[in-house]
Symmetry: C4
Subunit: 228 residues, 4 copies
Amino acid sequence: MNEKELRAELATSIRLLEYMGLIDFSGHVSVRLPKEDTLLINSWGGSRCSLGPDDIVRAGMNGESLDPGKEVPSEIFIHTSIYRKRPDVQAISHLHPPITTALSIAGKPYVPVMHHGAIFGTGVPVHDNCGHVNSKAKGDVLAELLADHRALIMRGHGAVVVAESIRGVFFGSVYLEDNAAKLAEAWKMGEPIPLREDECAASAGIWRQNQFNKIWNYYQEKSGIYFQ
Amino acid sequence: MNEKELRAELATSIRLLEYMGLIDFSGHVSVRLPKEDTLLINSWGGSRCSLGPDDIVRAGMNGESLDPGKEVPSEIFIHTSIYRKRPDVQAISHLHPPITTALSIAGKPYVPVMHHGAIFGTGVPVHDNCGHVNSKAKGDVLAELLADHRALIMRGHGAVVVAESIRGVFFGSVYLEDNAAKLAEAWKMGEPIPLREDECAASAGIWRQNQFNKIWNYYQEKSGIYFQ
Amino acid sequence: MNEKELRAELATSIRLLEYMGLIDFSGHVSVRLPKEDTLLINSWGGSRCSLGPDDIVRAGMNGESLDPGKEVPSEIFIHTSIYRKRPDVQAISHLHPPITTALSIAGKPYVPVMHHGAIFGTGVPVHDNCGHVNSKAKGDVLAELLADHRALIMRGHGAVVVAESIRGVFFGSVYLEDNAAKLAEAWKMGEPIPLREDECAASAGIWRQNQFNKIWNYYQEKSGIYFQ
Amino acid sequence: MNEKELRAELATSIRLLEYMGLIDFSGHVSVRLPKEDTLLINSWGGSRCSLGPDDIVRAGMNGESLDPGKEVPSEIFIHTSIYRKRPDVQAISHLHPPITTALSIAGKPYVPVMHHGAIFGTGVPVHDNCGHVNSKAKGDVLAELLADHRALIMRGHGAVVVAESIRGVFFGSVYLEDNAAKLAEAWKMGEPIPLREDECAASAGIWRQNQFNKIWNYYQEKSGIYFQ
């Protein structure tokens, strides 16, 4: 994808996550520009329920806006710190997913209980601080905690999902909350049954491009959100 | 019904189940073609929120597509194994119903607690594996577990409902989740009161064509989903 | 109101209750015709999400349709038995309210916990049988159980609300479920605090015509449901 | 803002709170007129789902309507008592937020568990009476209980939020319920982890104008509610 396509893809992902109630009025998604030490991210002010490709900003790896007049989100350090530490990561979402967040407030560990939850089989660490990640130092703490996992939770605040593409991040974001929803329901009724290791191993293969595309297309059709 | 009518009926049932949040982006419904060793099912790729009669595929009882260029769902073996074992079954749904699935994760047995839940009075077995049913061998295990019941649950994954017609499957699918919803609510508050045997016996008669039609028509009117 | 106005009012109440998720595809509301031994009720077949004044049937006090070709609901005996026993009652709803019903399945007594719940301060009896009330004998059992109260619950099935007018029934129906919703939420978290007697006494005055009209008008505006 | 602008702002806030399910058919929001012993509030009869600037009434600090023919809400004393006691307060909402209210019925203290919940770090007192606040004496009791806090809860009834502007009240109203939602979810699963003092201190700075505007604009865009 060229930059124009990446901007459309990024704007679409944010609008879809907003449509699904996962990003709230202030979350963000970024993508690393190929072969450049630069990222694209939605601007601080662009409304998550109406933004488009023009609300995407170029930013440097120190969190500075490269587009004069366009402000980056104050928590951009979540993104820059992770991109520096994880060369495999090409896209990152910062979500405010209600049930995933409630689980962290209840002190319940995040475990896979659903078929699709197997993509989080290595674990989802919880950051024990609800505060804004508005500095490089705070970003580095998160990146350290994330280690090689696909997601982390910020107790009383939200979550972060990483992947090798925007659609991968979208897929991971949807199933982070979907698995959390069933996990939480089970805690309300009793004690959840986590996936066994053999189940996690057998289900890990759903992390693949044709699944990313299928669910992406489905939500585009439902929401009518398209750019270009 | 001729095949053209069955295709429209099948597409309608899938769209209605999607409208009601029971099938997600990847469930499927099938119907057996009268007097043929063949079934109709929605294609792998047809989006559940927009598909129509043209997205229906003919498939053989070994799970192979009979329509060149149209792919069957990878879990078609759920359908073929059950049709082989249950000559009384003419239609099958594979759902992803959120609350029914959550009950299985909480390890709570599925019991009838609602008037309409009586249609599941013989029990709803739970398959203790969340994995995809993507082979004949796995399909046969499910069919064995289903035995003579009207539904089964796949822990951490979804459910299967069978009936003598597409409208019967729709009716069963709706009430599988409706009964689960009340059952789960009760577990969250305390201990559910299951239907007594006399209540199940007295209520079993709601499994009949005019009830199937009434709820089918109601949801068609609400959703505006019609074909032909 | 003359009969034409009552038909419009009755159809409106059913459509509003359907809009609010309280009546499902098969509930009903009736009103007694002034100075006649006759009632108006929605027909068996009229779809609750689209019916109008023409789907209202005249019925006699033995539950028989007086309009040739129009069928009454099979549970009309809920209405006829109560009208016979309660001359003060002019209108009745038979609802399928999800949370009120779940409370009965959890075996939790219905108590007022909300300001508006005070209208049920004398208690809401629970019928310990989920079955259809499709005979005079069964209707009489319900009427006996209802006694002088404003509502009763049928475990695993639904509820009945009575009042001196259609708008009173609408008001009572909305607050039966609203109070149940808060009661159930509290049971999920701990132990609910019921209203004290002094609170019930002080709040009973909200059962009055200008409150009925205010909420009726509000939901008409929200839903856009108007007849005549 | 001049009075015309304040009327538009006030009407917008009520319509947005109604859109979000926080105010029901009978809540109200008021604003103090600068340099006058007068307030603006929505009228008793103006429907919360359709009202506009013309449904705003001028009232005196004894709760009397100053606009002949326009009635003030019967609970206006919530507003007048607080304005008299708290010169810093310029705007007040009286909400019916479902989860905040359910927490009070469950007897669970309101504590901050979310980043944004830190704005209620000094505590949210609970009034142990569900009744209408329809007299100066009752209003004064509430004002006394509120003391220097930003919100209070009326058990089994609703809540009150105060701020230095209408947008501040909107922001506080949204996050009162948002924090309550996560708090309640956690109680349903186990025991919530409240914010630590250091977290509350670090997060208190989100109470500021640019945050008020961002969420206000977001919900205006989502709902399409604009005046003038």
